[in-house]
């Protein structure tokens, strides 16, 4: 049996995951919760996701539109804006880098060799 997931881990990546899912298909809050649950975030609740959607929309990373719902009030459908897609690309790159770094630390692998800083004397320059 797997250990329950640390909520803080989810909280950090949830905006990126919401943007990624919405980039694939425009949808509304509850359907997005269902999509993310189907993807493996079993413990995700509407109470966790709705504030994230509100914040992303407030920051201009999501745009929304209202669509009439058969069950009552109009539903709000979200999709990423152009800045939202840019932010997603940047977050995706940062995430890949973080995963690589975390993997190296967890496995005890040496970090990738950095190029020598500019201006530093090269071994050849020290030779007489």
């Amino acid at each position: 049996m797997t250990e329950p997931r640390d909520p803080q881990l989810l909280k950090g990546v949830l905006p990126m995951l919401a943007l990624a899912a919405l980039a694939r298909a425009e949808t509304y809050g509850y359907e997005l919760v269902a999509t993310l649950r189907d993807a493996g975030l079993d413990d995700l609740s509407t109470g966790t996701l709705y504030p994230v959607l509100t914040r992303l929309e407030r920051d201009g990373l999501l745009v929304s539109r209202l669509v009439a719902s058969p069950s009552g009030p109009a539903r709000k459908y979200y999709r990423p804006s152009a800045p939202g897609l840019e932010a997603l690309a940047a977050q995706r790159a940062a995430w890949a880098e973080l995963v690589a770094t975390a993997g190296r630390v967890l496995d005890g692998s040496p970090p990738p060799s950095d190029p020598p800083p500019t201006g530093a004397p090269s071994p050849a320059g020290c030779a007489p």
Partner: protein
């Protein structure tokens, strides 16, 4: 392309179910008092629509269980603000305590002391003044107390002390807000 929905059998909510959703939203509004008002109203409206929609699809019990405590959802929204916001409720409580509670306590202490002093001098009546309000302290076998007309001075003092408390509280809050949280 029009969006597709997963709604299979939406149900129309009864009055009782709607009341439960409204109660949740009311508690949420209480918890959001320190959020900028216009945005808080928009968030409440969106949440209300989403909750009613969810409740119509999965039932009110499940919808409310899913969304969880209104205090926690409000806390998530407050955490997401870029900067600390004025705590108007705390400011109002502080101003009330300083503007009304403190003068009331001071006046009560003064009044008891005045009446006791009259008694210590052998009893009788004494014409006094507190913050410009004429008062009569009496301590005799028949009467123990203070009589006074209701003047504007105590209200002016209360108002000034309240404003002072609010200004001091605001100043302290501004200083505290700039303190980095590690």
């Amino acid at each position: 392309m029009p969006p597709t929905t997963t709604t299979a059998h939406p149900t129309v909510l009864g009055r009782r179910e709607r009341a439960r959703v409204r109660r949740w939203l009311w508690r949420f509004s209480l918890a959001m008092q320190d959020h900028p008002a216009r945005e808080a109203r928009r968030i409440r409206r969106d949440l209300g629509a989403a909750l009613l929609d969810d409740a119509g699809r999965i039932g009110v019990d499940a919808a409310l269980r899913e969304i969880g405590s209104p205090w926690r959802v409000a806390a998530d929204h407050l955490d997401a603000l870029d900067s600390a916001r004025p705590r108007w409720n705390d400011g109002a409580v502080l101003a009330t305590l300083l503007g009304f509670g403190l003068p009331l306590y001071m006046w009560a202490a003064w009044a008891v002391g005045a009446v006791e002093a009259v008694g210590a001098m052998g009893g009788g009546r004494a014409e006094l003044s507190w913050l410009g309000v004429p008062m009569t302290a009496e301590n005799s076998d028949a009467t123990y107390g203070l009589t006074f007309p209701l003047g504007w001075q105590p209200f002016a003092v209360s108002l000034a002390l309240g404003a002072l408390g609010f200004a001091l509280g605001a100043r302290v809050w501004r200083v505290w807000r700039r303190t980095p949280v590690s």
